[in-house]
């Protein structure tokens, strides 16, 4: 049934699913429909935006493996949308940190970046995401040609940095970061296995030709 979904329908589903956390955040922030951010609203906004950024980043990384394993070719249509939403939540996370948490005080922010490794790692992930978001348009893709694919492989180290950033800020209970790390390993491992397979095939072909 899923396989027969039209690309346009799929895009709508992805759009609604990816915006749901934002809607939920808005309801809770403004106390609509009984929503609330709880006792520590700044922390709640910060953590929730970061969490959804990381979640959607992992979903983006899952698109290709799921597409290849299930044969749902249309899935590729939602990769950019989900990736841009991941970037959106990460930007929100960075804005909450800079404006609400640190009140744009440059000194403490620089201290955090230099002295707290988990902040350094998180900042690196954010900075690396920027060129990917900027070059996400069709025009960019056409202009950059093969280099576009190379550039967008940056999403692999970004995934690693993102999970690492999350792991390092957890106080003691590493269950959830461990699960995310396992998912990331599976997603990157799938690509590594594919790469090995392709290399072997290429080597065999080269041998055959000679």
């Amino acid at each position: 049934m899923l396989r027969s979904l039209k690309p346009q329908t799929l895009k709508w589903i992805a759009f609604l699913a990816a915006s749901a956390p934002l809607m939920w955040l808005i309801l809770d922030t403004f106390g609509i429909a009984g929503g609330s951010l709880g006792a520590n609203p700044v922390e709640a906004l910060l953590h929730r935006a970061g969490w959804w950024g990381l979640m959607l980043l992992l979903v983006t990384l899952a698109v290709t493996p799921v597409r290849e394993l299930t044969g749902m070719a249309a899935l590729i249509q939602i990769r950019r949308l989900v990736g841009l939403y991941a970037f959106f939540y990460v930007v929100l996370h960075v804005l909450v940190y800079t404006i609400l948490d640190q009140r744009m005080a440059l000194g403490p922010i620089l201290e955090d970046i230099v002295e707290r490794p988990y902040i350094t790692v998180g900042l690196a992930a954010f900075v690396l995401l920027i060129p990917l978001a900027v070059t996400s348009t069709n025009a960019s893709r056409r202009r950059l040609k093969a280099r576009w694919n190379q550039l967008h492989k940056l999403v692999y180290p970004i995934g690693v940095l993102g999970v690492w950033h999350y792991w390092w800020q957890v106080k003691q209970d590493i269950t959830v970061p461990l699960i995310l790390a396992a998912i990331l390993c599976a997603l990157l491992g799938y690509r590594y296995a594919n790469w090995l397979k392709r290399r072997r095939r290429r080597a065999a072909r080269a041998q055959h030709a000679s």
Binding site: G34, A39, V42, L100, E111, K171, Q172, D173
Partner: protein
């Protein structure tokens, strides 16, 4: 999901808070505050002066503490709402999320409760909750609570001075430390099923810290018995130390000659020390302790500077005269 449960609590919450503010205003108006404060200050370690509680301790979650003594140690800062105090908790025995304890401890019945007292003292034994609190007058103490995670609350505790309680067990001269442990009951505390910390949760104080007039064995909040997520029925409160020192659900008190290894110290010795005094100059390895966020503040409120010993230096700084607080964090 959480909202519905909170709403269920709301009517009692509002009553408690309004009664609370009302009483304080009445006291002030009557000019009783100043006189009462002086009297209880000099009687703090005089066990004979502590009248036995005229009302038996409340036995259900609905009972209220009668005749609360006001304390000179109370801050004039406005306490946090009952809702904030009872929904934003660190109590890993009930889960590691801040909202987990309120959810997972909902059906936890603290009473009957007993505490094992052992070690270097002349009156070891097993005491029920009623034995523990029976001879003491309950006091209300509004304390600041500063968590090691860089947030803080103001909590109107009800409790008894720890020194008065510990003296009843007659610690010997060998008792240099007091070691506390939390209940370890896997059936009633779902968080224990995962080895997040080396259970049971263990905390400790030097005997001087335990006997300090600020140190409280808390039994309630806002004039009512503690809710399970806040450590019912008995918990420690040491307001000049990071919150994790104020161990909840105490079932074991041991007087010891040796310093115990506390749970957080064991889990991450580079991050959490035995003393864990609030200290803005010694950062946690992963975050700054110079400032903290006040619970109850709005989205656009700034953090506030953290004070040495959480502002209780005049009562406790002497305890650490000869201690390098940078190394003994």
């Amino acid at each position: 999901m959480t909202r519905r449960r909170l709403d269920a609590h709301r009517p009692s919450t509002i009553t408690a808070e309004s009664v609370y503010f009302d009483r304080r205003r009445l006291l002030r108006a009557a000019g009783l505050a100043a006189g009462g404060l002086a009297a209880s200050a000099c009687g703090a370690d005089d066990v004979a002066a502590v009248k036995s509680a005229s009302a038996p301790p409340p036995s259900s979650g609905d009972g209220k503490f009668a005749q609360l003594k006001q304390s000179p140690f109370s801050t004039s800062q406005a306490p946090n709402s009952f809702e904030d105090i009872t929904t934003y908790n660190n109590y890993y025995e009930f889960g590691t999320g801040k909202a987990d304890p309120a959810r997972n401890a909902r059906n936890f019945q603290p009473l009957p409760w007993s505490v094992r007292v052992s070690g270097e003292c002349e009156k070891p034994g097993t005491y029920t909750y009623e034995d523990i609190v029976g001879p003491h007058a309950f006091e209300e103490r509004v304390y600041r609570l500063r968590c090691v995670e860089a947030w803080a609350m103001v909590v109107p505790w009800v409790g008894i001075p720890m020194a008065d309680l510990l003296k009843r067990f007659m610690p010997t001269s060998k008792a240099r430390y007091v070691v506390f442990q939390t209940l370890l009951d896997r059936d009633r505390m779902p968080g224990l099923r995962r080895p997040v910390l080396n259970w049971p949760y263990t905390e400790g104080l030097t005997i001087a810290e335990a006997m300090n007039p600020l140190t409280l064995m808390a039994t309630g909040i806002y004039g009512k018995p503690l809710l399970p997520q806040n450590g019912a029925p008995l918990r420690l409160v040491v307001p000049w130390k990071y919150g994790f020192k104020s161990i909840k659900g105490i079932v074991d008190i041991a007087f010891s000659e040796k310093r115990p290894v506390t749970s957080w110290e064991e889990a991450a010795p580079s991050e959490y020390g035995f003393y864990a005094n609030v200290n803005p100059e010694v950062d946690h390895p992963r975050w700054s302790q110079a400032r903290h966020r006040e619970i109850g503040a709005g989205l656009f409120d700034d953090k506030v500077p953290t004070e040495m010993f959480n502002g209780y230096g005049e009562h406790v700084a002497d305890l650490y005269r000869d201690l390098d607080l940078r190394r003994n964090f």
